[in-house]
Amino acid sequence: MALPLPTGLTQNEVSFLAEMEMVTVVPRQRLDSIDLLGGKTPQLRPPHRAQLPLWLALLLKKQRRANIVPPAWMHPASLAEIIHRETKEDPEAFSPPPPPPSRALYAQPGTARRLNHQHQPSFLDDLTQTTLDSQQQDPNSILSPPFLPSNVAESPAGYLPYHWLEIAEALLTHAGDDMPAPAGEVRSLLRDLVEVRAAKMRSSTSALEGFGDAWLTLRGVGAMELAENRAFLAGLVDGVRKIGASAEATRREEEEEARRGGEYGGDGDEDSDEDMGL
């Protein structure tokens, strides 16, 4: 095997991915811009804040060259709010992911729009051609984790980003002294959160009790939670599909018959040819 790994990212790979998330640092030393493969790093000039990928921020932190500003969602108040939402307001679902941040538009001065948000056509388009642009929007221009700024200081409180657990563990372990509250307090809140959500993940299998379902939506699930359960969930869904394969085929044939008003049942020949792989 060229790759002795299961399909889908492993926990370590997910954690690696999370290290690409941008976080906010407060430098303690000057550091000139470094020309990296992924672009130039910003000049670091104490005490001015800067945004860096987590892996680099941790490197600086370990060398006491910078402090990390934890994202707002990690504040105890925010975590408590999320736990409340997950337990009281909607005990079934995961709490929703953070809304993409908004940006001022270059094409329409004075207008702001959420990042990635589909363009609502407006009379302005004739002037700005933005419809044309957004129609042929390049997929790579749509940002998503780990490339959305969901863990910088400004990112909204009360929402768990996709990589919440990885970010939290990394920051608590290596930047505990930068926490807005005693690390122990944050930790215990996180532990509760992990528990609540693990239970939801488990019960999600029962969503398949209808065992004919074509899909399962897990809005708000975290990357690490997915990594832990993906192989099992996929195996479950695949198993149900395989056991039901013949029933599904029969159902389709019948529906097809019905659609053709059952003109003639004589499609046996074609079918058999397919079976023979001809």
Partner: protein, 281 residues
């Protein structure tokens, strides 16, 4: 219509059996049975040439073992199945159990026997065999044909399972000598799983040793296209390359005036082990 293009005669024979199940295309059937018959002389020579005396011994001895085990008439395909059970065990082992030389030979031999049977069954018909009038023979032919296909599948799956393992070993940088160490005391072909004590016979067949080398060369070629990436490097995401260390003793090489230093972990692991350095944080 002699045969369906791109499909082997055996396949056609088999195909017909299936097709006739869904429509009575006997004219088509006969055509192909004839096409099959016309190949017979060639088959005779081939299988005749391949009946090595040694093969026969092995074949019979294994058949005997089978009978005593199953206390019933062994069926075509039973030996192939044993091979696949070996493959199943192999999948769950981290090393490569011994190659089942005898079993492989016996299963291959079974195919040639079956092919001979088919030939002699068809011979009297002089290539004008009509399945609709000779149902019993048609049935026997189909059974023989299916048995051949089955054995082929078992042999391929067994060898593929092992080449998968071999390829993995190449990826992991093992060399042929490591594999010579991959041995077992079990009598060739008698191993039930690879865990017997070590002996001296290699667990690879000569052909497998060749394959191991050839795939190694192929891989080297492919890796050569991506030298800077180091394709055989770790598939675990990189952890910290660098660590904080404090100098405890003068190691000569890397002592510095301020006793703390930031170095590449790989470079100093031995110094840490030897107690010159202490890892921090």
């Amino acid at each position: 219509m002699p045969a369906i293009p791109g499909v082997s005669v055996c396949q056609n024979l088999y195909l017909i059996a299936c097709r006739m199940g869904v429509r009575s295309g006997n004219w088509l059937g006969v055509g192909i049975w004839q096409a099959y018959g016309s190949l017979l002389p060639h088959h005779h020579q081939l299988s005749g040439a391949l009946v090595a005396g040694e093969d026969k011994e092995v074949f019979l001895s294994i058949r005997k073992r089978q009978i005593s085990q199953l206390e019933k008439m062994p069926m075509y395909g039973d030996l192939g199945n044993k091979l696949v059970q070996h493959a199943k065990r192999t999948q769950n082992l981290s090393h490569l159990p011994p190659y089942q030389t005898e079993l492989v030979r016996a299963v291959a031999r079974e195919i040639r026997d079956l092919d001979k049977d088919v030939a002699s069954l068809l011979e009297p018909f002089q290539g004008s065999f009509d399945p609709s009038t000779e149902q019993a023979t048609a049935c026997t032919l189909l059974v023989n044909h299916l048995s051949m296909r089955r054995n082929k599948r078992c042999l391929l799956a067994y060898h593929r399972t092992r080449t998968d393992k071999l390829e993995e070993l190449v990826w992991n940088g093992a060399d042929i000598l490591d594999l010579a160490g991959q041995t077992t005391g079990a009598p060739k072909g008698g191993a039930t799983d690879g865990n017997e004590g070590s002996g001296t016979t290699s667990s690879l067949s000569p052909q497998e040793e060749d394959y191991f080398r050839q795939f190694g060369d192929l891989l080297a070629l492919y890796k050569g296209q991506w030298t800077d990436i180091d394709l055989t490097g770790s598939l675990e995401p990189p952890r910290d390359l660098f660590i904080d260390v404090r100098v405890l003793k003068d190691a000569g090489e890397i002592q510095t005036e301020y006793g703390q230093f930031y170095v590449r972990q790989g470079d100093v692991e031995r110094l840490i082990a030897q107690g010159y350095l202490q890892k921090l944080g």
